[in-house]
């Protein structure tokens, strides 16, 4: 009788111990699942930092000068194509030709040449086909990127900008500094009209309007 009781006790202790192990396992898996998205974002940031460092290194090697800036572009992205974009980015292998930097929103992002197949909204801040490069006198450098909360939403914080905020673009071993002079919205029709002073060199950033599915916002910066 006593032996039977002991056996029963041992059995229930074993079951309890196994249950606690299974519980612990599921707890760990749960924590990992919960943390996977923020960890992935941080990982992407670390990779982006390294890409920028390599870009800067190449510029320094070629021109013997120092550069500290980045670029942008936008559109809207859904959570469904977010995963696809991430997969694309993992396979991508590209080097930046310049960098857009907006200190106020801690934005620092590289851009590739217009001819590169990675000059695409699904990979990078994208240079519009109609854009001039920043070294063109009185040119308009136009960048677009997604906004929202997706992986490729490089312009997700642009809505925090106010008139007078500064941005800079590094390109061809030169830094071009700009000041925000105009912000306006337009309906999403597939095209966008840009209103700017043609006698000044400008930087135009285009992205979807914050919390608005039907409009896009255009930010016009003029060179300081």
């Amino acid at each position: 009788m006593w032996l039977k009781d002991q056996k029963m006790q041992r059995k229930s202790r074993n079951i309890k111990s196994q249950l606690s192990k299974v519980g612990f396992f599921f707890l760990i898996v749960g924590i990992l699942v919960f943390l996977s998205t923020p960890l992935r974002i941080l990982k992407d940031e670390v990779f982006e930092e390294m890409r920028l460092a390599i870009f800067q290194l190449n510029i320094n090697e070629n021109n013997n000068t120092t550069i500290n800036n980045v670029n942008t572009e936008n559109l809207e992205v859904t959570v469904e194509n977010n995963q696809e974009a991430e997969e694309n980015d993992k396979k991508a292998n590209y080097s930046y030709i310049g960098e857009l930097s907006i200190p106020k929103i801690n934005l620092r992002r590289g851009f590739v040449s217009k001819e590169s197949r990675y000059n695409n909204i699904e990979y990078n801040v994208t240079i519009a086909n109609e854009a001039d490069y920043p070294d063109v006198p009185m040119g308009n450098f136009i960048l677009m990127a997604h906004s929202g909360n997706a992986y490729i939403s490089f312009f997700d914080k642009l809505y925090r900008l106010e008139i007078g905020d500064e941005a800079s673009v590094s390109y061809n071993a030169n830094t071009y500094n700009y000041r925000l002079t105009n912000i306006y919205n337009q309906a999403k029709t597939g095209t966008v009209a840009i209103y700017r002073d043609p006698t000044k060199k400008t930087l135009t950033l285009i992205t979807c309007t914050h919390n608005d599915d039907y409009n896009q916002t255009i930010y016009i910066f003029e060179e300081i």
């Binding site: 960890l39 941080l42 940031e45 670390v46 390294m50 390599i54 290194l57």
Partner: protein, 192 residues
């Protein structure tokens, strides 16, 4: 930064009295400390629980008020860990190689280790050290400066070597931790 030793001491001493908040914090910690010491004498379980609850409450309050800063700090810590994992600088990488080497030598010299444990450790450390040597020889052959990390990781083969060796190193460390944890537990059970 340019303070003399006496100035540093004076600053440290006057630090808790710079504002009402700092005085408050100082008082809370002094009271906590006195309670802890006093309770060591009394050994009252209720006081112990109350103190633990108080400490948790105090730090929860801190987390609540400074949650954004704390999240930023945690993000920066994780980012640093990721940098060390994906793009370690040469000092960190050499450090991992030294740790691997120490583990290898320790395993070789230790007599009462289980054979399977020895085999697993040898496999992991040898692969890690092989990759490290490969990394160094590649860097020399490509005439790379190892000081600048961007200089190293602009080459895909260097990136892959470092990534694989970091994965091997982490597996080694996790294995060692789990093994020792299980081993110590096993020994304790044996002694009982």
């Amino acid at each position: 930064m340019d303070l003399s030793l006496i100035e540093q001491l004076l600053t440290f001493i006057t630090l808790p009295f710079q504002s009402f908040l700092t005085i408050e914090i100082l008082l809370i910690f002094i009271i906590l400390y006195i309670f802890l010491l006093y309770n060591e004498k009394r050994q009252n379980k209720k006081v112990k629980i109350a103190l633990i609850a108080l400490i948790i409450f105090f730090f929860s309050l801190l987390v609540f008020y400074f949650q954004e800063d704390i999240i930023n700090v945690l993000s920066e810590i994780v980012r640093t860990v990721m940098r060390c994992f994906y793009f370690p600088n040469i000092i960190f990488y050499i450090l991992t190689a030294i740790i691997s080497l120490v583990i290898l030598i320790y395993t070789m010299l230790k007599k009462n280790l289980v054979k399977l444990n020895k085999i697993i450790t040898y496999t992991l450390t040898i692969i890690h050290l092989y990759l490290f040597t490969n990394f160094i020889s590649l860097a020399i052959s490509m005439n790379l400066s190892l000081i600048d990390t961007a200089n190293i990781y602009q080459h895909d083969n260097m990136f892959v070597i470092v990534l694989v060796s970091q994965i091997i190193f982490i597996i080694l460390i996790i294995y060692k931790v789990i093994y020792h944890f299980c081993y110590i537990r096993h020994e304790k059970l044996k002694n009982r």
